[in-house]
Amino acid sequence: MSVDQAVFDGVLLEAAKEVFETMIFMDIENASEPEQTIDELTLLGSITFTGTLEGCLSIFCGLPAAKAIATNMLGIDATDDISEEDICDAIGEVANMVMGSIKSRVQHGIEKLAVSIPSVVTGRQLESNLCDGENKITVTVNIEDEYTAQFSLLYRESEK
């Protein structure tokens, strides 16, 4: 079975948009000119999948962006204190939902796809390509014209 990379082009952005609009109440736009470079303290939320395809989806953004996402998701004031644990939990769930949305959009051909529990790491100069994959799709988005985040999908066809 061959999974055309073209199938995923567009799907990643659509999936991210759906999650941001319905669950986070923030608008995101494909960023030809990113508002920010993501080089400060960053968060990397990823979820791996196995099955017909194997690989990983990640969201990569700076701490201020992650905090804005988490406070919006929780419906709390941006100036309120929010723990790093809550921020990580929120970003992990964003990765989970974007992956779910991708899956529902490309059901045909990748019916059997088991996803992992999301994991989130923080640090400086993290690389967003933590896992191997022959194919990589990256989408950089601006969030509410203020923050920048990057989604990447790495995958390869299983050998089985």
């Binding site: 669950m23 998701m73 939902m97 779910g100 949305s101 529902s104 796809l113 996803v115």
Partner: protein
């Protein structure tokens, strides 16, 4: 009479979002409980059953599918309606869950309207 509700999800953020979305849907519950994993859910259900349980699938230690099977073994939860709330959208998995005792399914991301539509039948 208003029903009791339990939200089971390993993500604290997601439990809060589900709670908020339930409120936005206009549905009212007499009592709401939360559990962060399957064991905590079983413990709380053993102490006091609920009428409606919203249950995640992708959870560490005990998956939502396992939890559904275990809840169905509890005689006190015979009448509990279990609605899965998950990013999982494969029909095969959904059919399997429904065959094993789940009563409904809501996919993430979701809207208050979706909760209203899927939970209203269990509110009487």
């Amino acid at each position: 009479m208003a029903k009791s509700l339990m939200i089971v999800d390993d993500s604290a953020t997601m439990r809060k979002i589900i709670m908020r979305t339930v409120r936005m849907s206009g549905l009212e519950f007499s009592r709401t409980e939360e559990a962060g994993n399957g064991n905590e859910a079983l413990e709380k259900l053993n102490a006091e059953p609920v009428e409606i349980m919203l249950c995640d699938i992708n959870m560490p230690e005990m998956s939502g599918s396992e939890l559904v099977k275990k809840v169905r073994e509890l005689p006190s939860c015979d009448d509990t309606k279990i609605v899965m709330v998950s990013t999982e959208s494969s029909q095969e998995i959904i059919d399997d869950l429904l065959a094993n005792g789940a009563n409904g399914y809501i996919t993430k991301p979701f809207t208050p309207e979706k909760f209203q539509e899927k939970l209203a039948p269990f509110m009487n």
